[in-house]
């Protein structure tokens, strides 16, 4: 703390100081404990998922691929087309609602354990600790004048950070460009200019955000941090210091009970401040910078253990509990968020499951309404557009109903569409004018897959002359 104050009061304005101004570099101290373990598993799980996912295959193609050039999104066995973007929107809505729900329930769970910013910052911290050592060693190193050892440490840290970031950028681009092609092109550096651009861009963003900006991203960039207060109430689980129990704080010898020294339980060791990744003092009350990482809980529990005091001076609690009132987990807000979330999730899942893997479009020829053939028949021209969204190719059979004795002329004998392809086939329909009862007749095109029982029916119109 005191060193940090000194550091800001030095009057030499450097670019760094100009950029950060009130910001002091924060050296989070390492913590051990339940929540630290939870975070490590969260970080490994999410990063593992992120880095491994693009390598998984499904039916001979990448399991998750957002193919922007083809405008198709492959997710496991499903293909999403631009016209299915409503489902993507629904998934985003579900994500937002879950955020509301979990925030109302337990504050910034997301920030402390699952946010990419936290996840990458944590992994950058592990690397930093691995090379530069503990918090004390890191602070000593930063104050020391440049020498070979310092240079070597700083160089290796940034080298590993940058390599890691570039790999991250590569993985990111691998979600949009088949990653096998991408990795095949890497050894010869034979990538397209835009692939390069996005690998470097994403890599740079990772390096900057997780290596340099860190908690400033949460403070300045995160919109969620600013409106979280609207989502929490007196029954929300928050991380809080038990002021009644802790104050008056003060140092004492190990093993002395609070009553003996007429102090509260807080031994004022400031460890809770040292472990905080955003550099705040939780004892000052709930602050918007707090990302709810629970590092201070682990740290203080450790101190309480050493002192022989009961744990939980800093803990997950609710405002009501702190005031000695009853806390209800199931309150209207939670129930309403929960119900809406459940409803929309089920609805979306049902809708996605029922997504038809075939689509049929009938496009009328715009040039002529109808044509009379030499045989006294009336002819309408259409283009058949078959979209196969299934993961395998299909052959289809077409039938049309709605007018008696109509005759179908297809430009192709066989209607076959590969997986994820669109096939357009010109066609015409001929009818005997005697069978037309009005000028416009509704007709129904039915397309059936020959090998499975998939079918789709599409309505279109047959136009003829005015019927007298």
């Amino acid at each position: 703390m005191t060193e940090q104050k000194k550091a800001t009061s030095t009057e030499t304005p450097s670019i760094e100081q100009d950029l950060y101004q009130k910001r002091k570099k924060i050296y989070p101290r390492q913590v051990h404990g339940l929540f630290a373990a939870l975070r490590v598993s969260g970080v490994s799980l999410l990063l593992g998922f992120f880095y491994i996912m693009p390598w998984l295959m499904w039916d001979g193609r990448q399991a998750i691929l957002f193919d922007l050039p083809e405008r198709k999104f492959y997710i496991l066995g499903m293909i999403f087309w631009p016209q299915d973007f409503i489902y993507l929107t629904m998934i985003l809505v579900i994500a937002a609602l879950s955020l509301f729900f979990f925030t109302a329930l337990a504050g910034r769970l997301w920030c402390g354990f699952a946010c990419p910013q936290t996840v990458w910052t944590e992994s950058f911290l592990y690397i930093e600790r691995f090379i530069e050592g503990t918090r004390q060693q890191q602070m000593k190193l930063d104050k020391m004048p440049m020498n070979a050892n310092k240079f070597f440490k700083k160089f290796s840290k940034h080298f590993i950070w940058i390599t890691f970031s570039l790999f991250t950028g590569f993985t990111f681009v691998g979600y949009f460009t088949p990653i096998l092609d991408l990795s095949a092109a890497i050894p010869t550096l034979n990538l397209g200019p835009w692939e390069w651009f996005w690998i470097l861009f994403y890599g740079f963003a990772t390096y900057g955000n997780a290596g340099w900006m860190r908690e400033q991203v949460c403070t300045y960039m995160c919109p969620y941090a600013r409106f979280q207060s609207a989502m929490i109430d007196k029954d929300t689980l928050i991380i809080s210091y038990d002021e009644k129990r802790g104050e008056p704080r003060g140092s004492r010898k190990r093993g002395q009970a609070p009553e003996q020294v007429s102090l509260g339980s807080c031994v004022d060791c400031s460890i809770c401040v040292q472990v905080c990744p955003t550099g705040i003092d939780i004892r000052d009350g709930l602050q918007y910078q707090c990302i709810g990482c629970a590092a201070c809980i682990d740290a203080c529990d450790d101190v309480m253990d050493k002192m022989g005091y009961p744990k939980g001076l800093i803990k997950y609690t609710t405002e009501n509990m702190l005031n000695g009132d009853r806390t209800r987990a199931f309150r209207p807000r939670i129930l309403v968020y929960g119900m809406i979330l459940l409803g929309i999730t089920i609805g979306t899942i049902i809708a996605i499951m029922n997504l038809s893997p075939i689509e049929l479009d009938i496009i009328r020829d715009r040039n002529a309404l109808f044509r009379e053939t030499g045989m006294g028949m009336l002819e309408n021209v259409y283009t058949l557009k078959v979209i196969n969204k299934d993961i395998v190719g299909h052959e289809y059979r077409l039938s049309v109903e709605g007018i008696k004795d109509l005759k179908l002329n297809l430009a192709k004998q066989r209607i076959y569409a590969n997986s994820g392809s669109v096939v357009e086939i010109p066609m015409s329909i001929e009818v005997d004018p005697a069978n037309l009862k009005q000028r416009t007749t509704e007709i129904f095109f039915k397309l059936e897959a020959i090998d499975t029982n998939l079918s789709v029916t599409e309505e279109a119109r047959f136009l003829g002359p005015r019927v007298r």
């Binding site: 100009d18 950029l19 101004q21 009130k22 910001r23 050039p69 973007f85 835009w194 400033q216 300045y220």
Partner: protein, 93 residues
């Protein structure tokens, strides 16, 4: 007067200003790009130039970013406390 100006400007760190220009525009540019290219095929937009679809998406995004960052920059500029306000503040003190 200059003193007040200085202190009010110093209330917002430079980093926050940089973020205030680049970050909202980045987000909005992302949305604009999605909406724009849902309506138009990227290949038609850059028909006369030899760019791939990914290139077209990227150029579109970067252009949107620049053109959204400009208003952010202007907002930042106009959000500076103007001299009359600063003077009032001074008198109040």
């Amino acid at each position: 007067m200059t003193e007040t100006n200085k202190s009010t400007q110093n209330d917002i760190p430079v980093m926050q200003k940089i973020i205030a220009v680049l970050w909202p525009s980045f987000l909005v540019a992302g949305v604009e790009t999605v909406v724009f290219y849902t309506l138009f095929d990227p290949l038609n937009v850059f028909m006369d130039y030899d760019v791939s679809r990914l290139g077209a998406y990227s150029i579109g995004f970067l252009l949107f970013w620049v053109f959204t960052a400009l208003p952010c920059l202007l907002t930042l500029y106009f959000a500076k406390p103007c001299i009359p306000c600063a003077m009032n503040k001074n008198e109040a003190k």
